[in-house]
């Protein structure tokens, strides 16, 4: 579907921003032009094209790939590339960015970048949360994975880990509601400790205060983000289109991360300025729509994160729970086979997470550092490119 969308828009003359730039280029060619003016527009056009290409590539993912860890990593890679290109554009245009109206636009972009930093930090916390779930799966594997024969004890151990897993994942979702009393301990002297144990999973999760909200943060990044108007595009030679583009990419990437990974007060209601003016808008908005669709699905509505691997955890945990609930001893051969099957499922999910989380976390951290770097460098070079009155 995304592919068709793209074809539709390219055949229509409505790639407004693009055609504005090409009209301008024609104008420029018709008169004596400096090399610089042509060079700049090519650079800006190239930026538009590259952003579009990357997101078209991401949008080509099928429903299995979308929002999986490898896809998220691809998304972050795409972001880093866009960021680098944008950085060069800033460097090459610093004297223009020093003056109105571009000075306002670029400082606005850097302000939004700061808000994105907090999202990166929250995502890092979310990844750590998933790691805690991975550890419960590890116990399940340990209990049922390689025994010569599986006894009641191992099942009880696996069951306990599954219960802990469910509670941990539930804690994410209902962090503001009081949870049902669970009685997993064998000794009742722990009763008064239960209340306190609940807090273990919650309060320790976040490096930000209880009042921090991912939804609010995204809202702040998207506020007043509207496409530049034609006359302003002309007056800035398309530079404000580049800034708008980078803003949009930043917003989408942060939004997708929040959609995928558990964080405090996840909300996907962020307002996205609807536009088809730009080449990249089509794939980005189609991804946006697909992710929203995914969020509305019955079995994902209450999920703490749309990451494919989280769904896999939920599924294999559910299967495992169903299995352990239906177990009678002694085990029939059929049941033993079923157990082996389910365990293989758990192992697959576990391996995917184990291999994927560390590189993902490193990448999120890299995104953080690069956003800081390009903001610092950008602000410095613009303030230095002093317009001597």
């Amino acid at each position: 579907m995304p592919a068709t969308d793209y074809q539709e828009s390219s055949s229509s003359p409505s790639s407004f921003g693009f055609s504005i730039l090409s009209r301008r280029r024609d104008q420029v060619h018709s008169m004596e032009s400096t090399h610089d003016a042509t060079g700049q527009e090519t650079e800006l056009e190239a930026f538009q094209r590259q952003v579009a290409e990357r997101f078209q590539d991401l949008a080509a993912a099928d429903s299995h790939e979308l929002l999986s860890i490898p896809w998220i990593r691809k998304l972050l890679d795409a972001f880093l590339c866009c960021q680098e290109e944008f950085k060069i554009i800033v460097m090459n245009n610093k004297s223009k960015l020093n003056k109105p109206p571009m000075d306002r636009h670029i400082s606005d972009f850097f302000e939004r970048s700061v808000k994105a930093l907090d999202v990166c930090n929250a995502i890092r916390d979310g990844i750590e949360q998933i790691r805690q779930w991975e550890k419960q799966l590890e116990i399940v594997l340990c209990a049922l994975g390689n025994q010569r024969s599986i006894g009641e004890g191992q099942f009880r151990r696996a069951k306990k880990a599954l219960v802990d897993l469910a509670i941990a994942m539930l804690d994410e979702k209902d962090s503001n509601t009081t949870l049902a009393h669970r009685n997993r301990s064998f000794g009742r002297h722990n009763a008064q400790k239960e209340q306190r144990s609940f807090g273990h999973f919650r309060s320790l999760s976040w490096s930000v205060s209880r009042s921090w909200s991912a939804a609010r943060q995204l809202q702040a990044i998207s506020s007043n983000l509207v496409a530049p108007r034609g006359n302003e595009i002309m007056s800035t030679n398309g530079l404000n289109v580049a800034v708008f583009t980078m803003n949009y990419v930043l917003l989408f990437v942060m939004w997708a991360l929040v959609a995928a990974i558990p964080c405090q007060d996840r909300g996907l209601q962020t307002h996205f300025y609807m536009t088809r003016q730009f080449l990249w808008a089509v794939p980005i908005l189609s991804l946006h729509e697909r992710i929203l669709e995914e969020a509305k699905k019955r079995d994902r509505r209450n999920s703490c994160g749309l990451l494919k691997e989280i769904h896999d955890i939920e599924k294999c945990a559910r299967h495992m729970n169903e299995l352990t609930d239906s177990i009678h001893f002694p085990l029939t051969e059929e049941k033993e086979r079923e157990v082996k099957q389910r365990i293989e499922e758990v192992r697959r999910v576990y391996d995917a997470i184990k291999d994927g989380l560390d590189p993902l976390e490193r990448q999120v951290r890299e995104v953080f550092h690069r956003i800081v770097r390009s903001r610092t460098d950008g602000l410095d070079s613009i303030s230095r490119a002093n317009s001597h009155d």
Binding site: E128, R156, S185, F186, W206, S207, S209
Partner: protein, 620 residues
Amino acid sequence: MAENGEEKLIAVARHIAKTLGHTNTMTDDILKIFSNFDGRLREKLTEKLSEDGVEQILNNLDRQISRYISSDNPIWSNAADAAAFLGSVDQLIAAVRDWTPLADDKNISSCLDRAEDLLQQSMFRLEDEFRTLVERGAESFDLTLSESTHPHPDYSDYDDDDNGFADEDENFIPVAQQITDYDIVIDALPAGTIGDLHAIAKRMVAAGYVKECRHAYSACRREFLDESFSRLGLQKLSIDDVHRMQWTQLEDEIEKWIKAVNVALRILFPSERRLCDRIFLGFSSAADLSFMEVCRGSTIQLLNFADAVAIGSRAPERLFKVLDVYETLRDLMPEFELNFSDQYCLLLRNEAMTIWKRLGEAVRGIFMELENLIRRDPAKAAVPGGGLHPITRYVMNYLRAACRSRRTLEQVFEESVDYRKGDDQALSSSSSLAVQMAWIMELLESNLEAKSKIYRDSALCSVFMMNNGKYIIQKVKDNELGTLLGEDWIKKHTAKVRQYHVNYQRSSWSKVLGVLKVDINSSSPSGASKSLKEKLKLFNSYFEEIYKTQSSWVIFDDQLRDELRSSVSGSLSPAYRNFVASLQTVPDFGKNADRYIRYSVDDVEARINELFQGTSGGKR
């Protein structure tokens, strides 16, 4: 350990005997051979490994262990119970280990199943007991900003037989004392509890339940650390929060942070490390992993704040606090290396280093912002009377204050920094910091020169430059800033001030002096008289003019003011005296001279001494 080895050996010996012996008699023969081989084996091997024996062992263990498991009371509330329970668990673990290689035997296999089941129940119970012990110990610990706990009374005296769940608060009385000395050794849990925890951990590891053990441990200790930090007043601030905070509030947060991060790295984390090492003694990767899990969140929270400061505004007023944060991290780097030395904490170490470097960048950025401020200061509003411009005062006092942290700034401005070499840095005047300072001075001077051109009177222009130049030199001399800029710089600028002095003299007074020039070879007496009258009139008006204007000019420095006055009168008085004298000699003029001479020589000198006092009386 030796005990385990022996049991293993017995089990293997039995196994070999059973497998190799095709008949019971053969088995017996083989057993006999083994028995003759070593006395120790003889005893053990004569026990027939019958299914009855196995079942009996299992039934005994079941009885012993179930008694404890089914009880609601914490096992560890009674040391004898705890020891007995652990003893049974040990036997159970050994039994499982012995019987596992013999599991092909159907009877042994069913006993093995029961044993493993029993083992799992024991482990669950041990996990609960473990958790209870860890949480109990953490309750009474209090560490606040203005209080410190005494190194608690010797816990080796702590009687294990005592009811471990009695109120322990009396041992942790907070004392109102500033934490100035980070040498406090804090034992996070009583030694008895630590011993118990280690005993439990050992068994859980042996039974393959190390993960559960670690989780129980880290969840509780993490919460404890979280609690400690919030008691230290540390809020969980996002980067956005810090970004938008009022500066005065941020200063307070930085103060709190500095205390908290020192307490963390010098007291809390080492204490956690010791605890991990003791509880997971012998299981180093469990200890390392647990430590990392416990401290990761708090470390990230602390580093996030420092990062937020580094990413924040570059307003020059922030320099000193940002330097504080920079220095704090720098001084704590050895602690970071020490605490987070294992493989799991590598990421944390690297983060700390990255953020520290970012703080250095922030400091450099602040100086850049200062440069921008100077450059952008408009050359519009002229200071009345050519006095000291606020920007001169601001910049010079700022740089003086900044240079008090010279060593740190040197570090910040050098390209490659090794914090360990701090003291040995060769501080030459061509260091990056010196270059930065010289550059700022140059920017300041350019800005002042541009400002001076606003004055239309070039004499005032010079006075302005003299004032500001003199102030600059005063502030540079006799402190680190002067050392950085160097003697040559000071000499050069002193000479500049002197040059402005000369310029002033020339532009204000040369025409006056010109008027007073007495032409000895005058023409006709009448012509002389007339031109002298003209000259006198001119002198009077010039002098009047200058006096009126320049008495409202300002020279803030007493010495400079005196110098100027005396150099003016030094050249003017003799010239005027001559002139007046020559007036007297002119024939028809001399008698009426008094009518035209407005100022006596004394008057002139007096007026000169009223120059440069400014409208408010001059003194700065």
